[in-house]
Amino acid sequence: MTTNSLTLARIFPRPKSGKGLWGWIGTVDHKRIGTLYGITSFIWFLIAGIEALLMRIQLSDAELDIISPDLYNQLFTMHGTSMVFLVIMPLSAAFFNWIIPLQIGARDVAFPRLNALSYWIFLFGSLLMNFSWLIGQAPDGGWFGYAPNSSATFSPGSGMTFWIVGLNILGVASIAAGLNFVVTIVNMRAPGMTFFKLPIFTWMTLITSILIVLALPVLAVAGIQLQADRLFGTHFYNSLAGGDPVLWQHMFWLFGHPEVYILILPAMGIVSEVLPTFARKPLFGYAFVVFAGIVIGFLGWFVWSHHMFTVGLGPAANSAFAISTMLIGLPTGVKIFNWMATLWGGSIKFTTAMWFSVSFIALFTIGGLSGVMHASVPSDTQQQDTYFVVAHFHYVLVGGALMGIFSGIYFWWPKAYGHFLNEKLGKINFWLMFIGMNLQFGPQHWLGMNGMPRRIYTYAENMGWEPSNMVASVGGFILALGVLVFIINIFVSKKQNNIASSDPWDGRTLEWSIPSPVPVYNFREVPEVKFRDDFWFKKYPQTIKEYYHDFDEEEIKNMKPIKPDEKDLGENHGIHLPDLSYYPLILAAGVTILAVGMMTHFSVIVLGGIGIFWGAIGWSLEPVNDPESH
C-alpha cells in the first residue's frame, strides 16, 4: 500500500493512544492480544469446567435425577466443544501471541492486524456458540456431532446449527491465526536465528500452526456440508437418499486427530522450555525432539480411523490404522525420554512451573499408554465409547495439555506482568489439581472396563459403578478447588507484587533478555543470534564448549558475559510500531453477522457482507503506520 491511496475510506478516526478501553479494542499489540486471548479462554474454561462439575454431580450416584437427559446432552456437548475449541486452543494461542515474537526476537507478529482479527472472530464465535444456552437450545449432539443424529431430521432444534456455525467461525479465526504464525516464525526471526536455533516452543508452534492451517479446512468442509443438509435439504449425510454417515466420521476425525495434536504440541513446547530452565541444562537431543514433533505432525494425518474401529471398516483398514496409530507412540516416546534425559544430571529447582511440567510427563505417559491400548482394535471394541476413552483423553488433555499450560502460566507470568505468582499458593494449586485429576480420571479407566458407556446421564443401581463414580466426582471438585486457588493466586500475587527481574528463572531464551514486564517495543535492539538457547550461552560463555564441542576457543575468550536488559525506555523511542486499528473488529463483526445470517435471514447475510466489505476496504486502505502521526 502506498501513501497516495489512504485518503479514502476513513469513516471514523483511527484510535490514537494505546490507553484505556479503546486502546484495548483497537490494539494490534501481540502482547495485549495474547492477554485478551488468555482472559477470554480462561473464562470459558471456568464455564466449561462448571459444565463438567454439573455432569459429575449428576453421575456421582446411580439413578440420580438432578439433571434431565436433555440438559445432560447439552452439557457434555458444550463441555467437550468448549474445552477443545474455546479453552485449550485459544489458551495455546495466548501463548503463541505472548511468547513467539519474544522468543524469535521480533517486535510483533508478521500481521498485527490479522492477529487482532483472529482474536475478535474467536471472541464473537465463542459468544455465539454459548449464546445458545440463553435461548435454551444448546448443541446436544456430542462434540463430534455424528450424523445423522445431528441432521435436521433427528436434531430439529437450532442447537446443532449453533454448533456448526460457531465451529466454522472459530475455524476462520484459527486458520487466520495459524497462517499468521507460520509466516511470523518463518519470516520474522532475528538475524542469525536459523531454524535449528529456534526455541522448541517456537518449533512446536510452527508445527501446530501448520496443522491448524491444514486441518481446520477439513472441519469447515464437514461443517458446510452438514449445514447445507440442515438448511437446504442436501443429502451429504442423509442416509435416506444414500448419504453415508460414515463419511461424516471420516471427515470429522480427519480433522479431529490432527486436532488433538494441535492441542498437545503447544503444551509439549512449553514443557520443553520449562524443564531445561529449571534443570539448568539445555534440552537433551534438541534435533530429535524437533524431528519427533515433525513426525507426530505428519503421522497424525494417517491415524484418524482409530476413532472408528467399531464402525465396521473391515479387518484390512482396522489393521492398517492400528499400526499407524501405534507408530505415533515412538516419536512421542522420543520426546518423553529426551525430557527425562534433560533432567538427568541437572540441578532441578522445584518451582510450581516445574511441578506442572514434571506432572505433564507423568500424566501424559499414562494417557499415551491408554491410547496405545485403544490402538489395539479387538480390545478397543470393548473400550470404545466407554469411560475408558474418557479416562484416556482426559489424561492427555487435562494431565497433558492443561498441566502444560498451567506450567507455562507460572513460568511466563513474571515476564508478562512483572511480578511473580505466589509460589506457596502455586504449590497448593498444583497438588490439588494433581490429586484431583487422578481421583477424577483414574477410576474412569476401571469404569470403562466395567462396561460403563460414556454420554449416559444415568446408570442402573446393580452395575457396580457407584463407588468409582463417587470418587471421580469428588476428584472433580478437588480439581475445581485447585483452579479456584489459582484464581485466588492471581489476585493475591497482584497485591503482593513480588517484583520480578528481567531474568527471574535464569532463563535460556531471548525473552528473558528484555525487561519484565515487556515494553511495547519488546526489543530495544534486535538481537543477533548465535546459539540455541542464545541468551544462556551469552550469559555463561564458559559453558559454550560443553554444548558446542568444536566452537572456537579464542572466540569464547573474547566474549563478555551479557546481562539482561533491565531498562524499559518507557515509550517507543523512535521505534515504529504498527498503529492501532478498528478494522479488524469491524471485519470480525461482519464475518460473525454473516454467519448469523446463515441461521436466520438473508438480509442479515447482506448486512454481514457489507460489514466485511467495509472492514476489508478500510483495512487495506489504512496504512500500517499513519504518516501524520510522525
Binding site: 518463518v186 538475524p191 542469525g192 536459523t194 531454524f195 535449528f196 536455533k197 491444514l214 460414515v246 471420516h250 480427519l254 534438541y286 534435533a287 505428519f298 494425518w301 494417517f302 480411523s305 465396521g312 471398516l313 473391515g314 479387518p315 484390512a316 483398514a317 540455541r532 558446542y548
Partner: protein, 145 residues
C-alpha cells in the same frame, strides 16, 4: 554413514536442508531451468525472457497455447471410445500437466523462491495422500457376513 548422520543433525546450522543463515546470505535465488543440457538451457533462457526476473510474454503465450492444446486433447480422448480403462488415468495425467503448467509458470513457482514450491507441494502431497487413503477405505470397507 556416521558422517551423513552428522551432516543431518549438526547443530551449527550447516546441514544440507538448512535454511539461510542470514537474510543477506540468500535473497531470492533464481531458479534455473530443470535440465542443464546447455542448448536446452539456451532455449529456455530465450523463451523465458533471458531467465532474468521472470518469463516474458512469449513464454507465457507458449504456455497458454500448450494449456489450450492439452484441453483440446482431453476433449478428444474423452470421445475416443476405445481407451477403456486407460481413459481416466490419461485424463488425470493431462489435467496434472495443465495443473503444473499453471502453477509452475503462471504462478511463477518456477522462477520464485523454493520455499513457495516447498510449501505448496507439501500441502498438495499431504492433501492427495490423505484423501486417496480416504477413498481407498471405501474399496476395503465392510465386514464379511
Amino acid at each position: 554413514m556416521s558422517n551423513l548422520w552428522k551432516i543431518l543433525t549438526t547443530h551449527k546450522g550447516n546441514g544440507w536442508w538448512n535454511l539461510p543463515e542470514t537474510p543477506q546470505s540468500n535473497t531470492n535465488p533464481k531458479n534455473e531451468g530443470p535440465i542443464s543440457i546447455s542448448w536446452l538451457k539456451k532455449l529456455w533462457n530465450l523463451l523465458s525472457h533471458g531467465g532474468v526476473d521472470h518469463a516474458g510474454p512469449t513464454f507465457y503465450t507458449i504456455v497458454a497455447v500448450f494449456l489450450a492444446i492439452v484441453t483440446l486433447l482431453e476433449l478428444w480422448i474423452y470421445t475416443v471410445k476405445t481407451l477403456g480403462a486407460w481413459l481416466n488415468p490419461l485424463l488425470f495425467l493431462l489435467s496434472a500437466l495443465k495443473f503444473i503448467g499453471v502453477v509452475a509458470f503462471f504462478m511463477h513457482l518456477r522462477f520464485d523462491h523454493k520455499y513457495f514450491t516447498i510449501i505448496f507441494t507439501f500441502c498438495m502431497i499431504l492433501g492427495i495422500s490423505v484423501f486417496i487413503s480416504l477413498l481407498l477405505l471405501w474399496s476395503f470397507a465392510g465386514l464379511k457376513p
